[in-house]
Symmetry: C2
Subunit: 339 residues, 2 copies
């Protein structure tokens, strides 16, 4: 158990000097610095984080809150964020919030307990409570989704991307377009894009072509598309928009079982561009989100806010949301309508 005092003692210098060397603050004579560095390397000494945290009044941990049931995309996004944050010297802790107010309340309690340095919201927050806590606690926050508050955001234009996806389908001649909407905020946004696209193109909106699914998983998609087909009756859609790729993959599988050929009899388009999407039969047309960039930016943005807060003590300023570009990846699952 070697600590900074030990190191200092062995070198005949003060702990302060060692601290300064380690943190690069102020100037320390080169000769001394080298000796400190040498011994540190030799002994494998590493500063105790808890002690630093206490002295600095920073916890070096930032929270990532997201739904208990979440898609692969969000999971991967987490990894990216985590890695980046780690490189800035921060920990991350996850807060899984279950749907509904109750879940958010629980999450809020944990958030307070952790004395976090910052928070990353991966999904929409329903209750204003969390937001107001962050404001009063001056806790830096960033969100991966546009929100009604002043929380800085890094995201693609979900509704816009969905609009583009559906427009692609319409451009292919489809007029009866079904949609599988995954539960959660992204689903809502993408549903909006779907509606907008129909309206813009004068395609009537039919309730029976909209199917909400509880779990945006492959299994959910497989089940969902069957239900959709049932409820749409004679007016079977010729195209399908799934609000994420898992749903689309499941849907394609069910369609195959049903003997409905994709894209010949039904075009399918997804959202996210997971790895699997390029390997389905047929390969999935989808919207690609810049996963890596989103994660890196989210982490960076939060980091900057923390620095600002630490340095200037300023209240959080309004930062314009940064909207990252998405790309429509056209593969094999969409084709012109025939019939």
């Amino acid at each position: 158990m070697t600590n900074i005092v030990e190191i200092a003692k062995q070198l005949g210098v003060s702990p302060t000097t060692v601290s300064r060397v380690l943190n690069g603050k102020r100037y320390v004579a080169k000769e001394k610095r080298d000796r400190v560095l040498g011994l540190v390397r030799e002994t494998g000494y590493v500063p105790n984080k808890a002690a630093r945290a206490m002295a600095l009044r920073q916890s070096f941990t930032i929270g990532i809150v997201f739904p208990t049931v979440t898609g692969l995309f969000q999971r991967l996004l987490c990894s990216v964020i985590e890695e980046k944050l780690h490189s800035y010297g921060y920990h991350t802790v996850f807060f899984f919030v279950s749907r509904g107010e109750a879940g958010e309340k629980t999450a809020l309690a944990s958030v307070q307990a952790e004395k976090l340095d910052g928070l990353i919201l991966l999904h929409e927050i329903r209750s204003a409570e969390l937001n107001s806590y962050c404001e009063t606690a001056r806790l830096p926050v960033v969100s991966a989704q546009a929100n009604p508050w002043n929380i800085p955001t890094v995201a693609i234009d979900d509704a816009g991307a969905a609009f583009e996806a559906v427009s692609h389908l319409i451009g292919l001649g489809h007029r009866r377009i079904g949609i599988l909407v995954g539960a959660g905020s992204f689903g809502d946004l993408r549903l909006k894009g779907y509606k907008d696209a129909l309206k813009k193109n004068g395609v009537p909106l039919r309730e029976e072509l909209i199917r909400h699914v509880d779990y945006a998983t492959i299994a959910g998609g497989a089940r969902g598309v069957k239900r959709l087909l049932e409820q749409s009756g004679a007016a079977r859609p010729t195209a399908l928009f799934a609000t994420n790729d898992e749903l689309a993959v499941g849907a394609i599988r069910s369609l195959f079982d049903l003997g409905i050929r994709v894209p010949l009899e039904m075009s399918v388009i997804g959202f996210d561009d997971l790895e699997i999407s390029a390997y389905t039969v047929p390969r999935l047309t989808t919207i690609r989100q810049p996963l890596k960039e989103m994660g890196v930016r989210l982490a960076l943005l939060l980091y900057c806010q923390i620095q600002d807060a630490v340095i200037t003590g300023l209240s959080l300023q309004k930062i314009p949301p940064s909207v990252l570009p998405h790309i429509l990846i056209i593969r094999e699952s969409t084709a012109p309508r025939v019939s």
Copy 2:
């Protein structure tokens, strides 16, 4: 910023008393206890973790180390572990270690910095250094893979399961069985099972039917199977064992592109049983690992060790590895050899 001193002051008691109430140590007069609890609830006071950590010389955080490039199964396992550990009041922090000694060195440094209370190893550790650090630091560790040291383990019998998978293929009449081996320790173990099964059944081992891939991803499997086919030349295998499901899924896709029908012309079997595996065309035959149980047990085992270490200060005792059962899930991608 309310702290324990504040609370104590407002109540006209000593910080010690508040601490005792909060931690349930020793007895505090009921009347006082209630007042403390009341104020705590009212003010929403939560003890500062860093300060506790320092005083208690515990960090309440446990590390999970696993490879930078890792499969979906390991990712999901992490989630399970994390959730369980959280319920015990512990944080988790990830240490991504890149292949090779260098990666492990870096990881070791972070491990030390964190003053962890425990460590979970999700993959095989190459350097003895990490192990010896854990021993001298008396850091409780558990591993998700059998290892040459005394680290308690929770895992399935990888080699045995692979043996079973390949035996299934042999039982179906296959004699030329290719294998796609993912990089990393699991791959090695499963390769061993493959070899054992061949030997046991008197099937000659052919080097040209073994293909190592750098990344055990879908893309890796898609590429890998092509290479395997090239290198096997005229002796094209009639069956394929992929050391994880991602590889198998990619392989199935490539085979489809190549016009090689699965399972008619080639049987394919995977390992892990991911969600996607039940939705491929054809559905994938694979080995199912008890994901949930593995995670829960790993967490529990570590927790017990920590308690032991805290309470008895005992050195870590040798705990026999617990081998969880796997199941061969037969679906559609394997069939009797025809030709």
